[in-house]
């Protein structure tokens, strides 16, 4: 009977991936480190390309500054909200680049960044981090900044991943359960 039950569970797990079963938490920071490395490559490539990669429009991007003392004082929900909103804004800014004609090199970096952001969202979901809730009140409640160049955009991208996102993942409560 026990064997049959276990077999049934296994079958259900395979056949029903779309159910809201909790994903296995991805606590290994090497997953995020991989995305960060790719973001480094993009930033290094775009640092060199300044004139050709400039655009007329401005991008709204999140603030990336982290004060360790301040960050430690925040609770997990506040940290999560800051990270999720920042990812959302960043994603929008980079996605807006896809529409415009860019060089092949730039296009590949743009595509990689967008897919990495999507993967990071999955990782956050696996850690049971609350999803992004758009602010109901004003648009500029959260701390944002504006950048005018693509290189600055990717600088913000890498700084955000290295800073807030990583600190949040490293401090995820799910990963520290059972660890004294």
């Amino acid at each position: 009977n026990v064997r049959l039950f276990a077999l049934l569970l296994m079958v259900l797990e395979w056949t029903c991936p779309g159910l809201s079963s909790p994903l296995r938490p991805i606590c290994d920071l090497r997953v995020l480190d991989h995305f960060i490395k790719e973001a480094w490559d993009a930033e290094a490539a775009l640092r060199a390309c300044k004139d050709a990669c400039s655009t007329a429009t401005n991008f709204t991007v999140p603030l990336t500054r982290v004060d360790f003392d301040v960050w430690e004082a925040m609770n997990i929900e506040e940290q999560a909200q800051e990270v999720q909103s920042g990812i959302h804004v960043l994603n929008e800014a980079i996605s807006s680049l896809q529409a415009s004609n860019q060089t092949d090199v730039l296009q590949s970096h743009i595509d990689a960044s967008i897919s990495n952001i999507a993967s990071i969202r999955q990782v956050l979901r696996s850690l049971s981090i609350p999803e992004y809730v758009p602010p109901t009140s004003g648009g500029e409640d959260k701390e944002m900044q504006k950048v005018s160049s693509i290189s600055e955009l990717f600088q913000v991208h890498i700084n955000f991943l290295r800073g807030k996102v990583r600190l949040l993942l490293a401090n995820a409560p799910v990963c520290h359960q059972g660890v004294s």
């Binding site: 920071l29 480190d33 960060i36 490395k37 603030l63 990336t64 500054r65 982290v66 004060d67 360790f68 003392d69 900044q145 600088q155 700084n159 955000f160 290295r162 800073g163 807030k164 990583r166 600190l167 490293a170």
Partner: protein, 535 residues
């Protein structure tokens, strides 16, 4: 109460002093190192949580502190000022000015500027998280792992909460006293097992740390103070090795001694000598260079008798007197006959193609025998009477003439010629009927003169047909090496029946090959001869 309070204050003061000095030591060393390595004007590093930026003094001034202004800004905010301090480096005798930011913003570009007297001296934009300058790892310990050539190295990571999982370490080790060392890089883990070390050796180990460069980057920390470790001695005891070598040496010596003492025996077994008949033919190879004819001619008279003695395995025994009645008239002794026959043989070996009859008469020694033969031929009947047909002895007849009717000529069958045919008796008389059994050992000459031989068994009824001028009957025994002219018993003869080799001489006489009844065995013609050039 006040005494206790003062004591406490003293203790606290001492601790603070100790803390400052140690921190100062690290700080000063870092400053000194960056002063050497960093090329930027404003050199910055993050120690624990705060960024420190310093610059070198340009020229000697009197009022140092009032000259410089340090400002920093980020995120397009207003510039903030930082308190400038000075530090005198004792080692390099230099003075630096530094500023330690109170609240360092990370993961954002930071703009720092140095002003002197209102004028901007230096400017720089940097991200604080890229300039970690950590302290060396603490509590470095090196221990023997229990296995040969291994050392266990362990240390404590720097006390930093956020980057403790982003560290990379470098372990350097070298034999004590040797400057050439090896470096091992290890990520995150704070222990390492060094492999492939020499046994029973003292090693020095150093460790340093750096952020791994993914999320945080920075400078390599200073090396720790070296820690000594000793590897385990090798398992194989040198004493045991020496003993093993010594015993091996002794065994080698013993075996060498045995081999040398029995080397002749071993040599015989492994490399046997090929037997050489040289010793039987004195002077054949040395003097005459293998020319047998020459040797025979030289040694004929003197050596013949002796050689016969040498070759034959048995001493020739006296001939039987075949016919006492007929031979008494001739008065020949047995020994004379035998000797004559032997001499005849010797003579016949020298003959070329010619009739036996002729040769027979030529040598003077054989003359007596010829006379005897003649006498015998004249009295064949008497001879037949005295034939020892009743006995089991072998007889050989020498037929001088060619009586072709009953005689069988086997010409050119055999290359070598035999004067005599050895006839061996077999048990019983069953073989008497057949007269065509092949002895095969008789060889014929190609000469005109012929010797025929007949077995005594061919004439069971004592009918010895007259064959011609004369016959000489002799008892012949073949021991396989040579013909032995002696009365033989059947037992002696019958045994080597199938294997006997005819005694061949270089006779050129024709000899009839009579097929004698044997026990069905075919005796081969001897390709080897007892005496002759074949040797």
């Amino acid at each position: 109460m006040t005494k206790m309070r003062s004591d406490r204050l003293k203790i606290v003061f001492m601790l603070c002093l100790a803390f400052i000095t140690t921190g100062g030591q690290h700080f000063e060393s870092k400053v000194a190192q960056l002063l050497r390595d960093e090329t930027e004007d404003i050199k910055c590093f993050v120690e624990v949580k705060d960024l420190t930026c310093f610059w070198e003094e340009e020229e000697e001034r009197n009022n140092l502190h009032d000259q410089y202004t340090f400002t920093y800004s980020y995120e397009n905010k207003n510039k903030m000022a930082c308190v400038v301090s000075s530090l005198s480096l004792l080692a390099s005798n230099k003075t630096v000015f530094y500023c330690k930011l109170p609240k360092t913003p990370f993961f954002t570009p930071l703009d720092v500027q140095v002003f002197r007297d209102g004028r901007m001296l230096y400017s720089r934009s940097l991200n604080a998280e890229n300039f970690w300058f950590l302290d060396p790892p603490r509590n470095l310990t090196v221990m023997s792992s229990g296995k040969e050539g291994q050392l266990n190295v362990s240390w404590l990571p720097p006390l930093l909460k956020y980057i403790d999982d982003s560290m990379i370490y470098e372990v350097r080790y070298a034999v004590e006293g040797n400057n050439m060392g090896k470096v091992e890089v290890i990520k995150v883990s704070t222990m390492l097992v060094l492999l492939g070390l020499q046994p029973d050796t003292r090693y020095k180990v150093w460790v340093r740390v750096k952020p791994d460069g993914v999320a945080y980057t920075g400078y390599w920390s200073a090396w720790t103070e070296p820690v000594l470790g000793v590897t385990q001695p090798s398992d194989v005891d040198p004493l045991i090795m020496l003993l093993v070598l010594f015993i091996g040496l002794i065994l080698c010596l013993l075996s060498m001694t045995v081999i040398l003492s029995h080397h002749k025996f071993l040599l015989k077994k492994l490399w046997p000598d090929i037997p050489s008949p040289e010793h039987k033919f004195p002077g054949l190879f040395t003097v005459y260079k293998g020319d047998f004819k020459e040797w025979m001619s030289q040694n004929n008279s003197s050596m013949w008798g002796r050689s016969v003695h040498v070759y034959t395995e048995e001493l020739p025994s006296p001939l039987e007197v075949l016919s006492e009645v007929s031979l008494t008239s001739h008065g020949t002794s047995q020994r004379e006959e035998r000797q004559a026959v032997e001499e005849d043989e010797e003579k016949e070996s020298e003959r070329s193609d010619s009739g036996l009859t002729d040769r027979w008469r030529e040598p003077p020694q054989a003359h007596c025998l010829v006379e005897q033969l003649r006498a015998l031929q004249e009295n064949p009947e008497s001879l037949s009477q005295s034939l020892l047909l009743q006995s089991h002895e072998t007889y050989v007849t020498l037929n001088q003439n060619s009586q072709g009717d009953d005689e069988r000529q086997v010409d050119d069958v055999f290359e070598e010629t035999l004067p005599l045919q050895t006839l061996f008796t077999t048990a019983g008389t069953t073989s008497l009927n057949t007269s065509h059994s092949d002895l095969g050992s008789l060889q014929q000459s190609s000469g005109s003169g012929r010797l025929s031989s007949q077995s005594s068994f061919e004439y069971p009824n004592h009918t010895w047909p007259p064959k011609g001028p004369g016959y000489t009957y002799m008892a012949v025994a073949d021991s396989g090496v040579s013909m032995d002219y002696s009365p033989m018993s059947s037992s002696r003869i019958a045994e080597p029946l199938g294997r006997h080799r005819m005694y061949t001489n270089d006779y050129k006489n024709e000899i009839f090959l009579h097929k004698w009844p044997l026990s069905g065995q075919h005796t081969q013609s001897g390709s080897e001869s007892c005496m002759g050039p074949g040797w």
